[in-house]
Amino acid sequence: MSGRPSPLAALRVPGEEDARRRAWAVAQAALAQREPVAKRRARPPLALAAVAVAAIVVLALAVTAPGRATADWVRARIDAVAHPPAPPRAPANPVPSTGPLPGGGLILVVNDHGPTVLGLGAPRVLLGRVDAATWSPHGKYVAAVRGIELIAVDLAGHRRWSLAGHDPIRWPTWAPSGFRVAYVTGTPGRGGRTVRVVAGDGTGDHVLAATGPAPPAWQPATAGERLAYADNAGRVALRDADSGRLIWRTRGGLRPIQLAFSSDGRRLLVLEPDRTLIFNGATGALLAGGRHTTKSTNIAVAYKPGSSTVYALVRRLRGSGDARLVIVHTDRHGVRPVDFSTVLFAGGPLGAPAWSPTGDWLVAEGGAAGWDVLHVAGRGTDRIRLLAPGRGAHLAGWCCG
């Protein structure tokens, strides 16, 4: 052959990018399973640098909002944050230690190591690297997605079951009963996305409906297994997950990015980028359509456990990278907002929020330096703790007191 590269080397073939991402995750896992032939030398300069960086981060948090107001309460765990990020091949190496969580229960994050449980005394990595994960309702299992594979794993890291489809899987969601898991698969340009349901033991996988670009949501506190989802026409529908029977469907034209049920199942909040809408969970009737906002973009929402009148909302301010975490109180019917309390300003992006099982602490996915865990008292906060979720982490849920 000549030294000139072949024209064939420049071709891109279908599915390459998705395949590359999945293959890299598998290759990393394969590397992690090998016994290294030589141990790495310790690198004290890097460790010192990490400690220094962590100290700066902690100092910055102490003197800037929200740390300024509650600096005395900031207990940045220097040793936790300062740990150098563990290489993916060595889950036994330190993921930042968190100890008991301030709100009790267990937090599930998906970081560069895989689905990681915080709150057990030391972080516990259940699998290798995955794309997404979700708690089972009682926190005994985690459903994780790796490319086209859906995997159920227990807290000891043992696989209980798995299934593989033909397309990448997104948004696994375990039903409150524990008996069903919903997930979305497919791509818009190739047959479309569908929401599928599988039993909690991995059997009975079936298509429920075509769906749009928002995660489905299970209706809690209801007889049977009912799943809400948004379709491509901008309608939100509620179906029986087993029979497929349509229970209700809204009119079209919505632009949902997230669906969230109150814990009693009576209210469904449909989050759009610039407004929130409240629907009757039993009938699908629109109860309140929030005003369009122009100054901020909605990112994510979470109802407070045991409440249909309080929810946490993450908004990103337009024109800047700043974000804020707002607690919204509605009237006693859970319909009209009556109070907005900003409990956290962030000089960077915030992601999904999650409430502690008792509803008195709130965490919002933040930057790599650490996530704020807020003690919610009334309409404000009175304590802040710093959580070290690990590199590349995304919040997947807070479970089970």
Partner: protein
């Protein structure tokens, strides 16, 4: 015969270079790092060699899911066999040979099961910077008869020698060369200049 493609010459050098061409020295360092369990070193090898392995597998089997499995399994097999890898040799051809063997085995297994290819060209997409050219070439290569397509891909994408191709495919070297010639002639006719 070195079937350096006269038929491909006029297509010109690709405007998109390979994502990460490695020097031998850098590749050896990456292999050493991967042997130590260094994920960054593995990433270097992955970026340099997995894309070509995937593209070759796709062109041979013409099925994205199967190609993903083949390239992924081939790379993982290479990672697991790193201890036994002769570090005096380049990593790329070793990996490519693994993937090529697996892809050809897959094609034979499909043929034995009488599987029928679907409309695989529906999803053909071009390279980012020279899409029309890449589309035509990709479509033309994918449309070649299997025996020609396999040797063209092994020779001009995986860069195996005709002798290596003969060994992998299990035919005499002369047969490899004649299939190459016919395949390249077809490409010269089918791809617009």
């Amino acid at each position: 015969m070195d079937a350096q493609p006269e038929a491909l010459r006029w297509i010109g050098a690709p405007r998109v270079r390979r994502a990460a061409a490695l020097t031998r020295r850098a590749e050896r360092a990456a292999v050493r790092g991967a042997l130590r369990g260094d994920a960054a070193a593995l990433d270097v090898l992955f970026r340099a060699h997995w894309p070509v392995a995937y593209r070759a597998a796709w062109l041979i089997v013409r099925d994205a899911h199967a190609a993903e499995d083949l390239a992924q399994e081939g790379f993982v097999a290479a990672v697991r066999a790193l201890e036994g890898f002769d570090r005096a040799r380049p990593f790329g051809p070793w990996l490519r040979t693994i993937v090529a063997r697996r892809a050809i085995d897959h094609v034979r297994a499909c043929a034995a099961r009488r599987e029928v290819d679907g409309a695989v060209l529906d999803g053909v997409v071009g390279a980012e910077e020279d899409a029309p050219l890449a589309d035509d070439l990709l479509a033309a290569v994918a449309a070649l008869p299997e025996e020609q397509r396999v040797v063209v891909v092994l020779r001009h994408l995986l860069e195996l020698t005709p002798t290596e191709i003969a060994e992998v495919v299990g035919v005499p070297r002369g047969t490899v060369n004649s299939r190459l010639r016919r395949g390249l002639d077809t490409l010269a006719r089918e791809v617009p200049r």
